[in-house]
Amino acid sequence: MSQSHNRGLVEDFGRWREFSAGMWAWVFHKFTGWVLIGYLFTHIAVLSSALNGDAAYTQTLQGLEQLAVVRVLEVGLLAVAAFHILNGIRLLFIDLGVGTALDTQEKSFYASLILTGIIVVVSVPVFLEGL
């Protein structure tokens, strides 16, 4: 079939509107996973200031915490982590064969979304405190 036509990635457009819950869960889980591993690397890098002595460590951390962007990013990180955890738990159950029915898995995905939302909203004051 040398003559056949490959639509490449274009064919995915127009599809996202029809994504099923499981698809969204997959997209979000992927995204959050990458953010988390990215953060892990950054985090260790930042903490490495400890190797330069205690003052450097304390300064670096507190200095960063002074910045509003960092605080906001931290809220984002919380959101990401919360979703990854909750959806991760959902996936673990699915791996165990619990809640694999189509409608159950949809509901559990929505539940993890909503819970993530609640956790984030509730935590915002804590994170932004003292700015």
């Binding site: 639509r7 127009g14 499981g22 698809m23 791996d95 189509l102």
Partner: protein, 279 residues
């Protein structure tokens, strides 16, 4: 046998009924043909491509107007468009009853069988957008190359093969048949494969249909345990079950309602269980 005679007197009830029927059909036809784009016509947007026809080499969408009949399916609409407007409109179809698996298409953004999809049931039943299955090469119009799908099916040794030839009728418990029942319903339509993003990315991934086929034999108690191990070996290869990310797209689109994700997950657990045993 005389009871088999319908009223044989001069009036011909069959002819009369036929006449009434023709009248009704004519009325419907009339209603449909007055302004072609009548309020109630369905707008069908169809993907067109043909490597040999100059103005189709660059894919495009053609629009057809199809009269809305009660219960009209996407396949009916395509047939109407082909037979009325453009006989070169090309798509696979055969059984019209969701058993041959020929007409899995991408309809309004989702994989569906044309013959099983009533236009009235679509979210947007005014405009129906029909494309060939995504993530497959297009041969022409709505026809895609299915070879890769068939190759993946072949890869799981999709045939019953007990260690020894059975001697006469084998017994199978009702529970066991029930267990594999859903998995045996696959009609090889390819909708699941097309909907799975992992399969789209990883060409070697066996894909939900093939894994489901493996499931069908793995759990068939008639095959025997030795075979189970060999089957496990096939599906737990790197591009086997592990690639599944539980997207559930396959399960969502399967026209035969096969719980594909569940089947794949069950096999993952089987594989882990087996390997834990060896440790």
């Amino acid at each position: 046998m005389s009871t088999q005679t319908p009223d044989t007197d001069d009036s011909d009830p069959q002819a009369e009924r036929m006449a009434r029927k023709d009248e009704r059909a004519a009325e419907r036809e009339e209603a449909a043909s007055t302004p072609d784009v009548g309020d109630d016509a369905i707008t069908l947007k169809v993907f067109r491509y043909d490597p040999e026809v100059a103005d189709k080499q660059e894919p495009r969408f053609d629009t057809f107007h199809v009269p809305r009949e009660p219960g009209i399916t996407v396949l009916d609409a395509l047939i109407y468009a082909r037979d009325t407007y453009d006989s070169s409109l090309t798509f696979r179809h055969s059984c019209r009853q969701a058993v041959c698996g020929s007409d899995a298409l991408f309809i309004n953004g989702s994989q569906r069988l044309g013959c099983q999809t009533q236009i009235a049931d679509l979210n947007d039943s005014e405009t129906v957008r029909v494309e060939p299955l995504p993530h497959r090469e297009v041969v022409k119009d709505l026809v895609v190359d299915m070879d890769h799908f068939y190759d993946q099916m072949d890869a799981v040794e999709p045939y019953f093969s007990p260690k020894e030839d059975p001697d006469g009728e084998q017994l199978q418990s009702r529970e066991n048949r029930e267990k594999i029942k859903m998995s045996t319903r696959c009609i090889w339509c390819g909708a699941c494969m097309s909907s799975c993003n992992v399969a789209a990315g990883d060409n070697e991934y066996l894909g939900p249909a093939a894994i489901n086929k493996a499931y069908r034999f793995y759990f068939d108690e008639r095959e025997g345990e030795d075979r189970q191990e060999e089957r496990l070996r096939i599906i737990e290869q790197e591009h086997g079950v592990w690639r599944c990310q539980t997207q559930f797209s396959c399960t969502t689109v399967c026209p035969k309602d096969i719980p594909l994700t569940e089947h794949i997950q069950e096999l993952k657990r089987e594989a882990v269980k087996q390997n834990l045993k060896f440790w």
